[in-house]
Symmetry: C2
Subunit: 347 residues, 2 copies
Amino acid sequence: MVLAASRTALQAERESAANAQAHNGLERLQALVADDLACVNRLIVDKMQSEVALIPQLAGHIVAAGGKRLRPLLTLATARLCGYAGTRHHALAACVEFIHTATLLHDDVVDESALRRGRATANAIWGNKASVLVGDFLFSRAFQLMVEDGSLEVLAILSNASAVIAEGEVQQLLTANDIETTVADYLKVIGAKTAALFDAACRIGAVVAERPAAEAEALGTFGQSLGMAFQLIDDLLDYTARETELGKTVGDDFREGKLTLPVVLAIERAQPAERAFWQRALEDLDQRDGDLEQAILLCERHGTLAETLALAGRYRDQALEALARFPASPLRETLEEVARFTVDRGY
Amino acid sequence: MVLAASRTALQAERESAANAQAHNGLERLQALVADDLACVNRLIVDKMQSEVALIPQLAGHIVAAGGKRLRPLLTLATARLCGYAGTRHHALAACVEFIHTATLLHDDVVDESALRRGRATANAIWGNKASVLVGDFLFSRAFQLMVEDGSLEVLAILSNASAVIAEGEVQQLLTANDIETTVADYLKVIGAKTAALFDAACRIGAVVAERPAAEAEALGTFGQSLGMAFQLIDDLLDYTARETELGKTVGDDFREGKLTLPVVLAIERAQPAERAFWQRALEDLDQRDGDLEQAILLCERHGTLAETLALAGRYRDQALEALARFPASPLRETLEEVARFTVDRGY
């Protein structure tokens, strides 16, 4: 009921339309590279094996948890967009998914999040210890696969991305519970913790296809912009989503005192009494019944939910622009659709 | 007083001799490659920088915490032993230390150990979250440095070692509190979690010097054996060391219910009543006053402390044997001394 109250008429109206085409771009993309994706899925299961049985068990819990494989799909799709006809991108797409999974496992330790995709987190079942160590294994395995592939350029892209992701996660830790966090701080965090891997996943497509640097750059921009839009909408949904639909608990970020854009903007524009509210709820984490509703109300009063959505839309436009240099094709159109849906799911 | 009771006359006698030459091999090794080591130390400080200030702060706490730099020293020394005259091994030695530091940080999360080298752990000061993420950063940074170096062979060695270390740590998690753990299980765990990185650190020396595979293999065996001896003595000291001297709390492993060799052997030879004791103390973790003393008594009764020391001695001998194929030199002699001291500190 919180959510019904927080959704504007406009949003409610658009919802059925958006839901009708939900996952549409993504599903079409999955269909377009279905054979490649099947190979990647086999590789993922194959390469996470270890004689230490807990490793595939725990990794399988999260890798197989109905993930959409968005990041490896980007590697598969961009490689094909660049005319690549080989199979090297299968293992590299698996690397991207392993690195993503490792960060999820380490993030579970970190955020004590109770739900991920509607299932209990690995951490809740096996404990912090196992989550950290299995994450380390997947991370190492990703580098082993890259070494097997043998491209120093790919190794550079993904080791750089991994360092940037870790920096972003640490920075996020520092901005948590800090109501002085600025929009620039926030954008830097999501650029590092989320968009860097989208960027890398897409860039690799051009590298395996041995395309000129300008194309790798364009695909990197596409990935980076898509990642920014994706995270902005993710953070927006934390205030507006319906729990059952997304397997995501609304208000997670609020309860943890995370400073995401809707809140950062609302604090910027806060009256003294409002500022005292944010300080109590997010900085002191002294939260009471009705606080989440109040937070949503303040965000709506200052228009920050709509503004977050609008900013995501600008990143989507940048992503579309970056794709424009590639010749039109069903693949390019589908990538465009994925970019559009990334933002549409925010309505 | 526990310790006085647990030390045999023989041990007490040898102690002063051993202490007189304490760190002797290591200090001589540090002196022999002093210029290289100074470069590595500068690189370590330089490469753990990040604009996210908590990263160098936290990493510095552990990297600069009076570490002996044993692992990077092995890379420096083996490279010179192979006649290498360049500087590539500086960055690679820093990689080895970064990977080691990352595992320490993740191990701190894992083991809730209160002391490391006598200082509060990073985890106790900054929390689990930061330790995991800064570990991830150092790990990624290590791979960035290897990519800069450009050797796929080195990348293979260290990505393989990293995967094996993670497997060993998970396996250790599974054997904790399990009194069915066998000697073979134990040896497998320490082979993976400790000896694999010693092996890799030494192997890299031959690789940068572009020596034949047989030499890399011999140095790998040296490192592997040295690592086994090192961990065996470390586990022994957890039952026999004097706290002030080593900055290590005696009985840590016992309190956590870790199944290390002295205990694994004692359980193998236990009478039913003794077995019940081990089960209560290590499996159920229902520990009472005097339990640690009782554990040490049982280990002494079954001769398992001496046996652990003897096994470490056999690994030391294997390490010395592996070095024998290299021409005699002050460097080789010093590496031999390091191997001997690794075991001598157990007396």
